[in-house]
Subunit: 154 residues, 2 copies
């Protein structure tokens, strides 16, 4: 299975960054996974939200071909871990490369959300974007262990 994780700008909080690396390492034992850090808008005031999101959208789009794009959003569809594992397996059988997208501090441009093949909610609650990245990686790792019938901590 080929799974890419796209996000504008590196995860800054060191503990979350370390967890990202940890779960990515686990994922790579079971699948072809990588994190692709796309350009984050710099030097703009937060009030210029539309411009920031547009810059970050362009950086994301450049990296996609015909990937099956899944944007994380608290307004997206929710799934149990078992449903999520089946969902990943089905896309893999179709030969699609999966691309997960988590926005930056201000989220994602509407255009990117519309482009998504799926909007996925790991929580109905709004998580910080950096914590959301970690939860996503943990769930993808969990799914891979479910699919391969391995034991993984609850």
């Amino acid at each position: 299975m080929r799974v890419d994780f796209f996000w504008p700008g590196r995860t800054k909080r060191p503990e979350l960054r370390a967890l990202e690396d940890f779960y990515l390492g686990r994922i790579r034992l079971l699948a072809d996974g990588r994190v692709v850090v796309t350009p984050a808008a710099r030097g703009l005031d937060e009030r210029e939200k539309a411009r920031i999101l547009e810059i970050e959208a362009q950086g994301l789009e450049k990296r996609w071909k015909d990937d099956y794009i899944i944007c994380l959003s608290d307004e997206g569809q929710d799934m149990t871990s078992a449903e999520f594992a089946r969902f990943l397996a089905a896309r893999d059988r179709e030969g699609r490369r999966l691309g997960f997208v988590v926005g930056g501090f201000l989220g994602l441009a509407e255009r990117i959300l519309r482009r998504a093949d799926l909007r996925l909610a790991v929580s109905k609650m709004t998580l910080s974007h950096e914590l959301c990245r970690v939860v996503l990686l943990e769930q993808v790792y969990r799914s891979l262990t479910i699919l391969q019938g391995r034991r993984y901590a609850k």
Copy 2:
């Protein structure tokens, strides 16, 4: 607002432990919050699940009086962050002390889940219990900032 977090056994992964401390520190700027680590069953094989959960249940119950107990469970009720903030505010107006509970590796005894005033799902997906603790603390912190009209990272 008085908010207690109960869990059997310390959180082991250092990054998650550091995040726990970080969010607890933030919570304590806005409310009377503490983490109470109750005894974890030791030296038992994982196959003795019922016994482990019973030992941990006793350790938890000892610490509660008439607290409003909220057990985290992926089969619990889900809420948006705004709904969760209103829920906390309502309990606080009733003068109830809130006690959140996240189980250990094997979860919580059925008896504890039945005792709960509410079962809350921060995700329909099954998170590792240590990651669940961090997500919970982050959400309580987020709620407190919502209630106090403060700005907090998305």
